[in-house]
């Protein structure tokens, strides 16, 4: 339990830290992806004339929103966690503590902030008349928890490796950008040429926007097989990430 208490402390500190010194405080959490949504929405709807394929397809903006928020939580969580060990070197070098807590807190605070944003945008879109299925929101949130486990696994791995190889942190944004465009966030699987569509099955993130859209927008089908696979993959990533972290953990202080 002390580790959990410590994690809570760091999560609180991290969330407070984000908005410390900014005028609008916690509003930024919602504002940042909202601005992103507005920009992407404008570019894709008005410039590229993007449409979600299919007959009674949903509007592009709610389609994009359900993919964008999970991605922001996911990518931001990993990015923040990657340097968290390095950034807290003064603490780690002087105080005995379970270092996993730092990684956990970094990812958890991202998911908390953007999870709230995800709920808020869903409710807002519903209020504007988008036919979102609010009853499915709790199920979508469990999906977000599952995504959190996947992010946590990758974050453990990245945070541990970053201590040894400092090239990871600067390379990560580029890799994540590539990953973002390789995921069905801005486009639907059906928009891809047929022969490339199944490639998305190798992308562990692809499952999440598709599932959220199936649940909340009834766009596409909720696949139980995909759900089981994704859960398995998230658990595997977490186990692997933790193993790497545990193995490297005793040697952090020698390389910080």
């Amino acid at each position: 339990m002390p580790a959990f208490r410590l994690a809570l402390h760091f999560i609180r500190r991290d969330i407070r830290n984000r908005y410390l010194g900014s005028f609008s405080g916690g509003l930024w959490a919602l504002a940042q992806p909202l601005i992103q949504l507005a920009v992407y929405g404008f570019v894709f709807v008005y410039v590229f004339n993007a449409k979600v394929p299919g007959a009674n397809a949903p509007g592009y903006v709610p389609f994009l929103a359900l993919g964008l928020w999970p991605w922001v939580a996911f990518s931001e969580g990993i990015t923040r966690a990657t340097t968290v060990i390095q950034d807290n070197a003064p603490l780690i070098n002087k105080v005995a503590m379970p270092r996993q807590v730092l990684v956990f807190a970094a990812v958890a605070s991202s998911f908390l902030v953007h999870g709230v944003g995800f709920c808020a945008i869903t409710l807002a879109l519903r209020a504007f008349g988008v036919p979102l299925d609010l009853l499915a929101l709790p199920i979508a949130l469990t999906g977000l928890v599952q995504l959190f486990l996947l992010a946590l696994g990758l974050a453990f791995m990245c945070a541990a490796v970053q201590v040894f190889v400092r090239d990871l942190a600067p390379a990560l944004p580029q890799l994540l950008m590539l990953w973002m465009f390789a995921s069905p966030i801005f486009y639907a699987r059906e928009s891809l040429p047929l022969r490339y569509q199944h490639w998305l099955d190798f992308n562990p993130f692809a499952y999440y926007p598709e599932q959220f859209r199936a649940l909340l927008l009834h766009s596409g089908v909720f696949s139980l097989r995909a759900e089981v696979l994704a859960l398995l993959l998230a658990a595997l990533a977490l186990a692997f990430g933790l193993t790497v972290f545990r193995r490297l953990n005793p040697h952090f202080e020698d390389f910080l």
Binding site: P2, R5, L6, V95, V165, V244, R247, F255
Partner: protein
């Protein structure tokens, strides 16, 4: 828990650091560690250290810079992982390792107190309950709400010590931090540690101040080049350490060949304390000290000989010349003269000293040569200063039964 429960123990403890120079080494190290092998190249800083601290004990760790004392403390607190051997700690540890250890410079003192409490395992309610006590002990006024980066080093130590004091750990581990605060705060800390020890607390202290070690600790452990050189009673260990320090500075003394090549009017042939030759002398407190110097006179004139005693840090204690006392060195043979002085029941307090001998010309004006010998006075006196002055108390004696207890 029984009174003699072991709170901290190390067995065959060793720590080595990897040798990392280039980025490529880091990558290689990562690969080695992931594969479950050890480091390819490493340098050992601590070897086969066995210590055992029981409840209520107080252990002082002494040694030169870089001997591995701080590494040992970090291993004990769990900040570092041992490369070999094991560390067992069965206590809630309060550690005060380095200046500002564990503080985040951007956060206020209050926030850092909360963090320290969380790291120690307190929940928010317990932490809030401790807050007034910590703020009062630290006594840094409005700075408690300022970021720690604006603190002076003294304030950082005050806050750090106040937190540890409020947590009342089973085992207090502290590094050379007392040296930073001002005198009033140092006294407050020493008094707090004394009260803590009296109440059954356990202490592991690293200090370069033999005074603090002797005042606060009953056991001591001397770490030399990563290994335990001596351990046991605080007085015998600190005295052995001081004697070692002395012999090291004696070895670093300037070469005499240069002086002798100039063929001075007078020079020392040898100088010994209690017939111990050039070796450092360990003398029990209150024993008799005999210093003997042989002087070669170039022109056959009778020299004046000065003997002086200084403390290891250079503070003069006493000096006297043959001319002052109206005596002359005795002629041994030819142009060799011998001066010998006896200090019966020498009044020096335990500690490290240097005895010096100088030949002067017969007019006692020019000084020609210097030889030094290390002297360690051993004993368990807790008096302060350099020498025991004759004194009497105009006070009542302690009651008889209380004397029997102590």
């Amino acid at each position: 828990m029984s009174a003699t429960a072991v709170l901290a123990e190390t067995r065959g403890l060793g720590k080595s650091y990897p040798l990392v120079f280039r980025s490529r080494d880091r990558l290689r190290a990562l690969w080695h560690l992931l594969a479950g092998r050890g480091h390819a190249d490493s340098v050992a800083v601590l070897k086969d250290v066995n210590i055992c601290v029981r409840r209520g004990e107080s252990l002082g760790l002494i040694g030169e810079n870089g001997a591995g004392k701080s590494t040992l403390l970090k291993l004990l607190t769990g900040v570092l992982t041992p490369s070999s051997g094991s560390v067992t700690v069965n206590a809630r540890v309060g550690a005060l390792l380095e200046l500002g250890a564990g503080f985040h410079p951007e956060y206020s003192g209050r926030d850092n107190i909360a963090l320290a409490a969380a790291l120690y395992g307190l929940d928010a309610t317990e932490a809030r309950a401790k807050l007034p006590e910590i703020i009062e002990f630290a006594d840094i006024g409005r700075y408690i709400d300022e970021p720690v980066k604006h603190y002076s080093s003294g304030m950082v130590v005050r806050l750090g010590f106040a937190i540890v004091a409020a947590l009342k750990p089973d085992l207090l581990i502290t590094d050379e931090v007392l040296a930073v605060g001002d005198e009033a705060f140092q006294k407050k800390c020493v008094r707090w540690i004394e009260d803590y020890l009296e109440a059954g607390g356990t202490l592991i202290l690293v200090s370069h101040s033999m005074y603090h070690v002797q005042k606060l600790c009953r056991q001591a452990c001397w770490i030399k080049h990563g290994e335990i050189a001596a351990s046991g009673d605080v007085y015998s260990v600190t005295q052995a350490y001081q004697a070692y320090q002395e012999s090291k500075s004696a070895a670093a003394a300037p070469d005499r060949r240069e002086l002798l090549a100039q063929n001075p009017e007078f020079h020392l042939l040898d100088f010994s304390l209690n017939e111990s030759g050039a070796a450092p002398l360990v003398l029990a407190q209150g024993a008799t000290l005999r210093a003997r110097a042989r002087v070669q006179s170039r022109d056959g004139r009778v020299p004046v000989v000065v003997f002086g005693i200084v403390r290891a840090d250079g503070t003069p204690v006493y000096g006297v010349s043959s001319e002052m006392d109206g005596v002359q060195p005795q002629r041994e043979s030819g142009d060799v003269y011998v001066a010998e002085i006896v200090f019966p029941e020498v009044a020096l307090l335990p500690g490290a000293y240097v005895v010096k001998a100088h030949p002067l010309d017969p007019e006692a004006i020019r000084l020609f040569d210097t030889l030094e010998r290390a002297l360690t006075v051993s004993g368990q006196s807790r008096e302060f200063g350099l020498v025991r002055l004759r004194h009497e108390w105009a006070a009542a004696e302690l009651p008889a039964q209380k004397l029997a207890v102590s």
